[in-house]
Amino acid sequence: MPIWWIFFAVVIPVGSDSRIDFDHDVIPVLTKAGCNTGACHGAAIGRGGFKLSLYGGDPAADYRAIALELKGRRVNLIDPDQSLLLMKPTEATEHGGGYRLDPDSSAVARVTDWIRHGAHRGDRAAKRRFVRLEVSPQSAVIRGSGGHLTLKAVAHFSDGLSRDVTGETVFKAEDPAALEVDSETAKTRVLRGGRHIIIARYLSQVMPIEIIQPYSDRTSGVTRGGGQTQFVDRSVDTLLATLGIPASGAADDASFSRRVSLDLTGRLPEPGSVRSFLGDRDPERRVKLIDRLLASEAFNEYWTLQLAKLLRIHAQPGNLLGVEKYHAWLKQQISEKVGYDVVARSVLTAQGDTHQIGPANFFRTVSGPREQAEFTSELFMGSRLRCANCHNHPLDQWTQDDYHGLAAIFARVQQGQVVAVASGGQVIHPRTGENAVPRIPGEHFLEDSDDPREALADWLISSDNPYFARAMVNRLWKAMMGRGLVEPADDLRATNPATHPKLLKTLAEDFVGHQFDLRHTLRLIASSDAYSRSSRTVSGNEIDDRYYSHRMSQSLEPEVLADAISDVLEVSERYGDTALGTRAVTLVDPGIESQTLDVLGRCSRQDTCETPVLVQDNGGLSRKLHLFNGPLLNQRIASNRGRLSRLLESGATVEVVVDEFYLAALGRPVSDGEKRFWNERLKSFADPTEKREQLEDFVWGLLTCKEFVTNH
């Protein structure tokens, strides 16, 4: 037998291992040049007949598209320079995407080399796995105008290789007007003060880089703090000091009383309670008030509404009975102080007749396993997986396997009146065309089981789950402080970092450590100095809209505002066919007939009710016009059964009427200046009818002013 074949057998494997690794050397070139962005070939349908995975999320598909499809027409192995892959971005031939690569650049040289070596995917691509990206600095404070720094990125691979990939990493400022990043050198210049984020992207990983330039040299002291809330105030104050933003002083007792009452119970404090609180000299009066509110039935009602919005509880046609069961069950969980983890597990694993088993209605909220996966991830993980339906998430870690794997967990759930887990039911993975395998997102595929929801629930509520507790405490923080540590609150991801990452982490740990007790975390936040700050700005913190240097005012929710109007006027609103006097926050069905709630902009709960902060503050033109001119206020102010009529009939003086309405609507006594103003305006009318008309105008003015329609 001749021996020459031995040489051949030895040489072939060597020859097939090219120096250039497609996955780790070629794809970063395409990403850096912008070829695989959503606006270019990374679009869902590609561009110009050439489709790449978004930001190189699927190297196998990209290799196929570049080197194999259409008989390999995009690479020319005989004359690499003539490859379409190079001729297009260098504009050697017409390219709709324009000039993307310098023909003399090292990037082009690398791709050319790859083609020259056979345009293989490379054996190393299979052996070497990108592990993580390290950027430096991860956070920096730059003082003085015109300050700059140079970023660096190092990639670490599974075979132990570490390589400087600064030149191949895409650095993108979230706000290009605030930061300037040179794409070649990664030199970064700050254009204006504030906290800014740069997103670094290399292969499948994205990382945020925080750059701070103080607004001023002024620093407000870090809170002396103490006790349980110390970590909250220390975190908030430290960032304020770094940014040079002064903090406003503490709100007065009246403001605090109204604020905490609205935040914890969705109700205005009653005039008697206000008087009592303002007369209390106990240094612990605020804590006592918080505890009293947390223990109230009003808290149960209001936080049932809050969770009902999160769970998107709404009646499907013909399923009002189910929704009533669901709502009643939820209220029971709140009243009995059941942990949020238990609530989550109950709904995730529920089955049975939805007219009998309240939490089973969770599976009638949306239809279809993919929608259920999206809903579940947004609700319990604060994460938007939906991008990963069509491609790996461009700004997060989620892959299509994660999305369709989570959907597969719900594929067997029958979503009729009786929720049951069937023996069959699949979700097709669009990339493979095969049945998706149930998967814990970002973790592992699941073994065959009768009900994979159990494994999902166990994972979600485990103490080391990185999403569940964070998502909830961020929402609780937002409910109390007016803005989430992460905004939007259902979009937690590495590239949307929290303003106070350590605070979010510590709050989550504390939440877990206290058995996912909502009341505990709410109490913690309400007791902090940061919570009790005045909404009045001081010089230097007027522009702050996210660092909690002062209280952020927020519009009252539609249900809360409707109840507040009824409470102040003592004229009830009727909702649908419910009994007169039913409070809006206790309504089960968000679709119940009510023009008042419609014009105030209630959420139908068909989709998420979590709105961005700016939208929330606006309130909308329709709402304002109805408040100014509509029957919502005018008819009820003129009612002969309300608070105004009662006071006038009792012979109350103008001063008493004014003071009573101030306490009822604004939760504070009328000030001396206001008292003088109203006396001058209202005292001169002797005719009772005329006097009433003037007082009605006064009430109208009170109920349309910003101080009333906001929680501040």
Binding site: M1, P2, W4, W5, F7, F8, A9, V10, V11, I12, V14, G15, S16, D17, S18, R19, G49, L68, L70, K71, G72, R73, R74, N76, L77, I78, D79, Q82, L84, M87, K88, T93, E94, H117, G118, A119, H120, G433
Partner: protein
């Protein structure tokens, strides 16, 4: 010089299959090995073997004595069945994607061009191989060329068009416009009265050749269509078959159509992507070449995959059936031309129904 598929064999006739690398300019594998050894010794391991460009098109010469293989390195004629390279024909085309002999075997159409710039067809005399004329009427490469008769042929291009040409004329007879993406394959039917075109837009369109009208669209495929092949008619007065068109697609299906009435007759779904399709000469078997390097034999009456032969490790772009001996030629990404014997690929006796 013949290069056997199995290097331990010294007898080229003891194997049923044959493999040859189309190493342009090197000529024989001893030179390759010597070169590799030299490079190995001097540490130039990454250059140990030059990568051959993929074989993108195949065509048997009309008498079946040789096979033409096209790639970015040009056009090479190999003797059949030993696959010895016989001659290399230079071409002005940067890429070649299709080869087709005229019905009388006197002309060879070579379709291709420069990607994203130009689609060209060279008409060559056969067996001389000299370029008689070229037609340049597409703005992207010609992916498929087929003859209507000895003078008229059609081209399909990634510029979305199908064009009808007459040999010797520079202006086309007719353009067929309607596909929304590149056209990858065409086939004349009904004695040249109709032409079927398959495209990246997932559709097969049937056109009236004389009027240019779109007769119908066959839209059951859900991804790009790679190739169409009509079932050969048998010169047998006892056997009269309906016209049948086979299509292979990125959706992993092989479909059989009765294109004259627009009926999807039957189909099968594979676990790999079929890239090229060929009918055996009597139309009794259908063979597809796939993206995993396998060749699969399918019974057209049941669409059952009868056997699978692993012919390569990578994508196979072209498969053709020898006109008389029934064996197969395949080529693909590895730049490797390979013969598969009749016994290998069709284990069952081939008899006319």
């Amino acid at each position: 010089m013949f290069w056997p598929a199995y290097p331990w064999s010294t007898d080229p006739t003891d194997r049923k299959d044959r493999t040859v690398f189309g190493l342009a300019g090197l000529g024989n594998m001893w030179q390759v090995i010597c070169c590799n050894v030299w490079m190995w010794c001097f540490g130039v391991v990454s250059l140990a073997i030059a990568t051959e460009p993929p074989i993108t098109a195949l065509a048997f010469d009309p008498d079946g004595r040789s096979i033409l293989a096209a790639s970015q390195s040009g056009l090479i004629e190999h003797a059949w069945p030993l696959l010895e390279p016989q001659r290399r024909m230079g071409s002005s085309l940067v890429s070649i994607h299709s080869l087709a002999f005229s019905p009388d075997g006197s002309k060879l159409a070579v379709g291709g061009g420069t990607p994203a710039e130009q689609g060209v067809v060279e008409i060559r005399s056969w067996p001389e191989g000299e370029v008689l004329c070229t037609v340049d009427g597409h703005s992207d490469t010609v992916q498929s060329v087929t003859w209507r008769n000895n003078d008229v042929f059609a081209t399909a291009s990634l510029d979305h068009e199908v064009v009808l040409w007459r040999v010797g004329e520079t202006h086309p007879i007719r353009r067929f416009r309607g596909h929304s993406k590149g056209v990858t394959t065409i086939e004349f039917m009904a004695d040249g009265a109709l032409i079927a075109s398959g495209a990246l837009d997932q559709n097969i369109r049937i056109w009236n050749v004389e009027t240019g009208e779109l007769v119908r669209t066959l839209n059951n495929h859900t991804r790009a269509i790679h190739e169409l092949r009509k079932r050969p008619q048998v010169n047998d007065s006892q056997t009269r078959r309906l016209p049948m068109l086979a299509s292979v697609s990125d959706d992993r299906t092989v479909r059989l159509w009765q294109p004259t009435i627009g009926r999807l007759v039957r189909f099968c779904r594979l676990d790999v992507v079929p890239l090229s399709v060929a009918w055996h000469t009597n139309g009794a078997w259908l063979t597809v070449a796939c993206d995993d390097g396998s060749v699969r034999n399918i019974h057209p009456d049941t669409m059952e995959v009868v056997n699978v032969t692993n012919a390569a490790q990578a994508w196979l772009y072209a498969i053709r059936v020898h006109p008389t001996d029934g064996s197969l030629a395949v080529g693909g990404r590895e730049g490797q031309l390979r013969r598969l014997s009749n016994e290998q690929i069709v284990p069952l006796p081939i008899t006319m129904p």
